[in-house]
Amino acid sequence: MKLLKNNSLSLNQLDGNTARLLTMFVAIFLVASLTKPDMFLSSGNFQSMSKQLVEYGLLSLGVGIAMISGGIDLSVVYIANLSAIVTGMVMKALVLTAVGPELLLFILIAVLAGVLTGFLCGAFNGFLISKLHIPAMLATLGTMQLYMGIAIIISGGSTVSGIPRVFSQLISNSYLFGIPLSFFIYLFVVGFIIFIMSKTKFGMRVFLIGTNARAAAFSGIKINNVLIKTYILSGLLASLAGILSLARLSSAKADFGSSYIMQTILIVVLGGINPNGGYGTIRGIFLATITVQVISSFLNMFPEISNYYRDLIWGVAVIGVLIVNFSANKKTTAKLAKATAN
């Protein structure tokens, strides 16, 4: 059964997807540069692109890791919102009267509170999925409502605002070589996750569990342990996204960014992660993220095109990528069968 469903083979498959993504990225980049050179190639555009993609970029990483492990994490957006609200509220409570270095310390405490929130939310997801064996899709569907519920309750359903200026300035408006700090944070995280997934035993185990959880258990992998860590990682990434969005918008809300759920899943699939688990690369997710951002920024330069056309393009892109990967895999499989038969 598994064999039939998994029409994927490890050889060359993902490199094919990465190559296609890269081609797509370069093509769109060229088209954008040629058709709208002054707008697209301006430093302002690059700044805003690099700012915008950070949040859903981080969320996609979490969803991607969960998908590689054979599950999915639908709750990331609401973990992000909850973390942002917690950070915002702690900050407000602590910081209002503070000045100078004390202020920075309090901000740090508030950020840690947000990160801790992400950690706990992720751990709870992992607990439900590994210990209670609730299918990942259902567990995170439930926690998505739950975390949104908790966020509504603690914020009283209203927007948390009045965040100290310093915080936003520091994170959202600091630039290094004209590139926003938040983008550097994102790049660093991408590098870190690439390292985790390709160079550590944890990463390898996530791939193996995603391929065959039962065989993983029989091979001595502590499945519960690995899965809980996987969802904690996803939760942490989400909280980071939440904190960065708090800095960017100076506010947080329980139901902010609902459409991101869809967008993150689309990016992950676009990035070549196998929805059945076990396959995919983080660099694929990264490429998909920047590609999506370039497309949407490019489309934004045509005021006559409604924002909503972006949805249309993404939908078509995802299904297109699935079909292209499907045909490419078929070829690889045939080639491999031939190679091994001789």
């Binding site: 059964m1 609730i134 949104m148 908790i150 409604s306």
Partner: protein, 357 residues
């Protein structure tokens, strides 16, 4: 024979439907004791009214699960097809029967559903991802190409929405509630779907495909055609739900549909439908929807602020699914111990199904 009937009785007592029913009764009694307002005529009619659209949507989710897997595109199919139907009336100034309006929507729904069906049947991709993709496309068409926005309904449709099947007034509170005509559509759809699923070969084919695809193929079912058919029909049902929602609200509201899928899927799963296909009943689907509707509708009666709603829904989904998963694992153990696969250790019981989306 005796042991057989007790076995059956036991089985029905541990069924998920039964648990949901108990939960519903407990919740109803609790709300009644706290507020005395649950078993009032207007509250009950309100509940029924609020159930109509989610229940029809639940059919779409249910059909997806028993045949293939999760379908998340039905709210946008509903939005897009009811938009086109409404525009049809507005533009042509159509004055005739509401049935024609429904038929226009259904035609659109069939086309949209068949797109899902084609991709899923042809390529065997995970239905979650495909329907996620198509629903973004549909949303792009609706809000981008058509630039749909809130609009007042033409008279034909609004009139139908205002008609009521049953109107009650709570003498004490002086609050009236009415049951719209769409209630009949909801009941009719359930009867039709029940009949088709249980009394036709095509219906059994849906279960057969969901139960074991290879066996279905060998038995001579056209697996791809059945999958295609299910998603196409599901599109039509979603379209009906869309028109029902629109006439009930008396406005066309393009952005009100998205997001509905998660709650509906939660309701269907609570009702005992299996994620991995082939198992689930309409009874369970209705009960699951009722439970979620009570939580969203009636918690306010016991003075629980509205903003606790999401929290409760999340908690119910988690507890409900946890119970049914733990239950099925118990069955798994006792049943499978015979063929020596009854691994008790929790680590191993994570099977592909638990992670399958």
């Amino acid at each position: 024979m005796n042991s057989l009937t007790t076995k059956k009785l036991k089985k029905s007592l541990v069924s998920t439907e039964f648990f949901v029913l108990v939960l519903i009764v407990l919740l109803a009694v609790f709300i009644e004791m706290q507020s005395g307002l649950f078993f009032t005529n207007n509250n009950l009619v309100d509940l029924l009214r609020s159930m109509i659209v989610p229940s029809i949507f639940a059919l779409c989710a249910y059909l997806g699960f028993i045949s293939t897997g999760p379908d998340v595109s039905f709210p946008l199919i509903a939005a897009l097809s009811s938009y086109i139907a409404t525009q049809f009336v507005v533009i042509t100034g159509f004055q005739g029967s509401i049935a024609i309006v429904f038929l226009v929507a259904i035609a659109v729904g069939l086309v949209l559903g068949s797109i899902n069906g084609f991709i899923i049947a042809k390529y065997n991709f995970p239905s979650l991802i495909v329907t996620l993709g198509t629903s973004t496309i549909f949303s792009g068409i609706l809000l981008g190409a058509f630039e749909a926005s809130r609009m007042e309904l033409p008279a034909t449709m609004a009139d139908f929405g205002r008609q009521s099947l049953l109107a009650v007034t709570n003498a004490k509170a002086g609050i009236g509630s009415s049951l719209p005509m769409t209630f009949l559509i909801f009941v009719g759809l359930y009867i039709i779907v029940y009949f088709v699923l249980n009394h036709t070969m095509a219906g059994r084919g849906v279960f057969a495909v969901g139960g074991d695809e290879t066996s279905a193929e060998r038995a001579g079912f056209n697996v791809k055609l059945i999958r295609f058919g299910v998603f196409t029909v599901s599109g039509a049902i979603a379209a009906i739900a869309g028109v029902c929602y629109t006439v009930e609200s008396l406005y066309y509201l393009p952005t009100e549909f998205a997001g509905e899928e998660m709650i509906v899927i939660a309701a269907v799963i609570l009702g005992g439908t299996r994620l991995m296909g082939g198992v689930g009943t309409l009874k369970g689907t209705i009960l699951g929807t009722l439970l979620i509707t009570i939580v969203t509708n009636s918690l306010i009666l016991v003075g629980i602020p509205v903003y606790w709603q999401k929290f409760f829904i999340g908690a119910i989904i988690i507890i409900g699914t946890a119970i049914s998963v733990i239950q099925s694992h118990n069955l798994f153990k006792s049943k499978k111990s015979k063929d020596s696969k009854g691994l008790q250790n929790s680590e191993v019981v994570i099977n592909e199904t638990a992670q399958k989306q």
